[in-house]
Amino acid sequence: MSRSAAEAKAAASPRRRRSLITDPRFRSVVIQAVLLAAIIGIGWLLFDNARQNLAAQKIVSGFGFFGETAGFGISQTLIPYTEASTFGRAFFVGLVNTLVVAALAIVLATIIGFAVGIARLSSNELLARLAEAYVEILRNLPLLFQILFWYLAVLGTLPGPRESSPLLGVIYLTNRGVLFPRIEFESGSGIVLAALGLGILLALFLRFIARNQSLAGSRRRRFRWLPLLLIIGLPALAFVAAGAPASVEWPELRGFNFVGGARVNPELLALLFALSTYTASFIAEIVRAGVLAVPRGQTEAAFSLGLPRSVTLRRVVAPQAMRLIVPPLTSQYLNIIKNSSLAAAIGYPDFFYVFAGTTLNQTGQAIEIIAITMAVYLAISLVTAIFMNWYNRAVALKGA
């Protein structure tokens, strides 16, 4: 009996005493309450059982290990870390490494994915076929295989540091990573940064004037290269005026390895390339589906209004396609974040590897660490999803 029917019946005979048992609303509340209590009870039973067994086996539990000295080295640390740092510090080193590789891969996968997806729709047969081949090959090979391919077959075959010769005179490609000169900013470089900010502000202001004028009906003034000149020129001027407060540190071969300069580890590169090219093949298909889903009539209508092809694409097709592209795109971004944990296969010190791997093993506190790891991945993914949902609402159909 549906609820509305029950209500109708109850309303029809208000005087008749009705048993609570036959009241569907009451019944459903009771059933749900019992179910909830049972779930909580089972949960408590499991938790308590685990706690007792841990105590019986004298296995240490709790979160005290966060303050203890880690004692192990990590190959890529973007925040200060030494062997004397704590496990808590190692936790953040791993977290930053995961966020870095995921963020870079998301950007790169989006660029490649959109390019390939649009290329597949090109009227140029060769380009379309190449894009199709890209999609079919990359999305059909296991990701782990692709990571190992990049790491062992591509980056692993580069020359060692002693044998390498610089590319374009400045960049060294070695099997220990890619090395390039690092610009070292000294005191007084703050003024350059300020000049850059000022340049950007001025450029935005010019753009604002241009738009207002064109909206007001007067002939739109074009500033052409002026904004770009401001953004580049102002900091350059400031740099010279401040007496060039920066120096370049060149990578230099000393002993076993290069010393100085900046270095990107092969583990990061392999993981980044594999994650972004693999996910890009899925994004390409999403983009293609999104564009094709815009009714042909829309394009034809735009053409018949005399809009040029570029404006039609930008103002008519793209906004409608984005509505279809964004939700599945979110899933792909979440996949990148989760798939980045495959880093363990090549020793990239991501969160999963450093925390759920090394830290778990050195402390032996599997339960706490696995629980925290789950919570962290869940948090990263949920934040990403919230942002993408916000963006989805921003591009969605308004009103109606």
């Binding site: 949960g43 059982n49 086996q57 240490v60 192990f72 990590i74 590897y353 339960i367 629980a371």
Partner: protein, 336 residues
């Protein structure tokens, strides 16, 4: 919710172990011993070309199985990474961990484990390509070093370089094979591990003679079998199987002469082989437990020579692992 998931995870693992009576009874009822070993470390535990597990650590588990079942083949070998080994033992997936594991205080206490003894005294060393022309570990400043994660090795190397103000880059991998592959590919200058493992892994390299093990030994690595904390009977059984193999070597009882030894009038030998006293029964085994071990597996020295010593492809010196009576530190309490 988080708690529940975590408790579910636990029930799957720890819940099971609480139910059983004792590990020895469980093993007897099951009819097979579950033994955790490496995924492939020549000399210690690796499958041969026919798929049979061989090695010093493997033979220890076979000795335990021989003592219980009179059959060294009633063992299920579970290959584990360094990272997963303790969880496998804690959760009851295996009964004994015999996987060149270093005995340390924190593992003995906070992990809820018990080390039964030492079946190989080892130390950590470095291996490097000969063409790098390095003669000492003190010349390794600035080097990239490959090692396996979840080991005492990655901690020792950090201590060693930190204490000497030497710079290094540590690149760690999950499995031994990944580590040696990265070293072979030139990702690192140096491969570091227990010295025995350096010799074993060197056999997996293209041309083993291109690589040298540096003379420095930077740590103590007493490797031994491990059991779960909390079952003293099982702890005793596994411990005394190790002692029995050492005592058998001390009394020169080998696979070949075991039948003659049974006729011996020497009271020490009689106690060991169960022709006098009921020491095996005190352990929950049979009187002839040592006879079973020696007949099927041999004494400690035989096992050592066959797998890592003179008669093996590794050819490692006995060194510290000689019996105490022959200049080493292998020493077992008496059976009486």
């Amino acid at each position: 919710m988080k708690r529940m998931i975590c408790a579910l995870f636990v029930l799957a693992g720890f819940g099971v172990t609480a139910a059983g009576a004792g590990v020895l009874d469980d093993v007897k009822n099951r009819g097979v011993l579950n033994c955790g070993v490496t995924q492939g470390l020549p000399g210690f535990s690796s499958p041969d070309d026919k798929g049979n597990w061989t090695g010093l650590d493997v033979e220890f588990c076979r000795a335990v199985a021989a003592a219980i079942f009179d059959d060294p083949n009633k063992v299920k070998f579970v290959p584990l990474t360094a990272k997963d080994r303790f969880t496998a033992l804690q959760s009851g997936e295996i009964d004994v961990l015999s996987r060149n594991t270093t005995w340390t205080l924190s593992r003995d206490t906070s992990l809820g484990l018990n080390f039964v003894g030492v079946n190989y005294y080892d130390g950590q060393g470095f291996m490097i390509r000969k063409d790098k022309k390095v003669a000492s570990a003190l010349e390794l400043s600035g080097a990239s070093i490959c090692t396996q994660t979840g080991t005492t090795t990655e901690l020792n190397v950090a201590d060693y370089f930190r204490a000497r103000n030497m710079k290094y880059e540590l690149v760690s991998f999950t499995t031994a094979d990944e580590t040696i592959k990265a070293y072979d590919a030139g990702r690192c200058d140096v491969f570091t591990s227990d010295v025995s493992q350096l010799y074993a892994m060197r056999l997996k390299l293209g041309t083993p003679t291109d690589h040298a093990v540096l003379p420095e030994v930077i740590s103590k690595e007493p490797l031994g079998p491990v059991v779960r904390h909390g079952d003293d009977q099982w702890f005793d059984v596994v411990k005394w199987v190790l002692f029995a193999t050492l005592n058998a070597e001390e009394m020169n009882i080998t696979q070949k002469n075991i039948d003659e030894a049974l006729k011996s009038a020497n009271p020490e030998i009689k106690r060991l082989l169960g022709t006098e006293g009921n020491f095996g029964e005190q352990l929950g085994l049979t009187r002839d437990w040592v006879v079973r071990i020696v007949r099927h597996v041999g004494n400690y020295g035989e096992s050592f020579d066959r797998n890592v010593g003179a008669n093996s492809s590794l050819g490692i010196e006995r060194g510290l692992n000689r019996l105490w009576s022959k200049g080493g530190i292998q020493y077992a309490p008496p059976i009486r």
